[in-house]
């Protein structure tokens, strides 16, 4: 399996919550904990802000996986929005499975601001799982393998 996708470096879009998981990622950085650079983190105020549209747009735009992170159940800074994120995530994953997207490509991880190591481990694990699955390459028909959305092409031009 792995040989089949040799040289494949997955792109994973990670959504983090401002109060817990983003700080966990920050902590991982400050503590010099290493995790694969394949994940591109986007900070939201809360995992409850995660509209499933964001995940679909990421996959349609060329991402190989989507990581959704938030505060542990019971610890949401907006009381119970992470439960909403959980219900959406479970429905999203079922729907995507019907579209032929493997469940391993969409993952929900809870990480408190103190859990830099746990978040780094979860990222590393997910990157390896997606690497084995291979590229998702949700590309448009007959347009020379370009990304589906032209504005995504423009964004890809901007250097990091």
């Amino acid at each position: 399996m792995t040989d089949q996708h040799e040289g494949f470096d997955p792109v994973i879009i990670g959504f983090t919550c401002n109060w817990c998981s983003y700080r966990a990622a920050d902590l991982a950085g400050m503590a010099r904990i290493k995790y694969p650079p394949n994940v591109r983190l986007i900070r939201l105020m809360c995992s409850g802000r995660l509209d499933p549209t964001f995940a679909l747009q990421a996959l349609a735009g060329g991402a190989d996986g989507v990581l959704i992170t938030g505060c542990h159940p019971g610890e949401c800074h907006y009381l119970e929005q992470n439960y909403k994120a959980m219900r959406r995530f479970q429905l999203l994953r079922r729907t995507l499975q019907q579209m032929g997207v493997e469940p391993e490509r969409v993952r929900l991880v809870w990480a408190s601001a103190a859990e830099g190591q746990q978040l780094a481990d979860a990222i590393a694990e997910m990157v390896e799982e997606v690497r084995v699955l291979g590229p998702l390459s949700w590309r448009g028909q007959g347009n020379g393998g370009k990304l589906l959305r032209p504005e995504a092409e423009e964004a890809a031009e901007v250097g990091a």
Binding site: D51, Q57, L59, R87, L91, Q98, W138, R139
Partner: protein, 334 residues
Amino acid sequence: MSDKPKFAMYWAASCGGCEIAVLNIGEKILDVDANFDVVFWPVAMDAKYKDVEAMADESITLTFFNGGIRNSENEALAKLLRRKSKILVSFGSCACEGCIPGLANFSSPREVFDAAYATVSTDNPDGTRPAVRVTVPEGDLEIPEFYPVLKTLDQVVPVDYYMPGCPPESHQIAAVIDLVIAALKGEAELPPPGATIGAGDSTVCDECPRTRNIKKIKSFTRIQDLVSVDPELCLLEQGIPCNGPATRSGCGALCPKVGAQCIGCYGAADGVVDFGARLMTAFASVIDSDDPDDIDRILDTLPDPAGQFYRFSLAGSLLRAAKPAWMASEESVA
């Protein structure tokens, strides 16, 4: 031929319901005849593609194009009518977002052909399948090429206006025709290009008279499995999968008013990027549980979420098609 403005209507991958809806505008059809020359309308009159090809570019004032782009003939006609038309309206759910024919985007072309040519109801002992070119004693035959992924009209050509609905409501069609006639006389202004016409901009819930509480549910139920449906209460809050929260208004909430769930035929409301994503949020919000296993158990009562959410909008959604259809399209390109 008179110097009246010219009107055309074409059907690509569609059922013909849009044409019925146009004829269903009643005596208003006489206004169409009084104000327009109908130059091309395969379901209503005899006209050949070569007649359209012979017309000057932009010589047809108004074209209603219904149906999705399923094959090479649909695509060629979309491009031809785009060139010949001043105003091209993406008419009905199929042209706007794929509709029922777009559900084939869940499957590979092989599965689609198997369903059409190899089930028990089909008498096909030789297992014949359509081919683009076939040689018979009388000569070579050619038929349009079947595309692995059905496309919406605006994925193939630029479109001036969108008119949603499966089919668009007749009174909405009549209002649009009135508007175009008034605009041609200089008495009204056409909406900005790219606008959705003949529909509201809010959701079906906004037009629905049922009461919404913040009630939560422990399971989803098919409407036909219920002994009785509360006539006043929101259907979704009774566990009936109702697509109203994401669906564009304009129909007057016809289905929920008579006790049937909204199936989403008017497509995405203003501001909704992906119809299914909006419904995922709406459905998730009524689930009464904070426990992952319990949520899974509740979701088991919604056996086909993708079919529920993308019944009309798969081809126009962010992902457009499921993986088997995309993989077949990659092969056909390669």
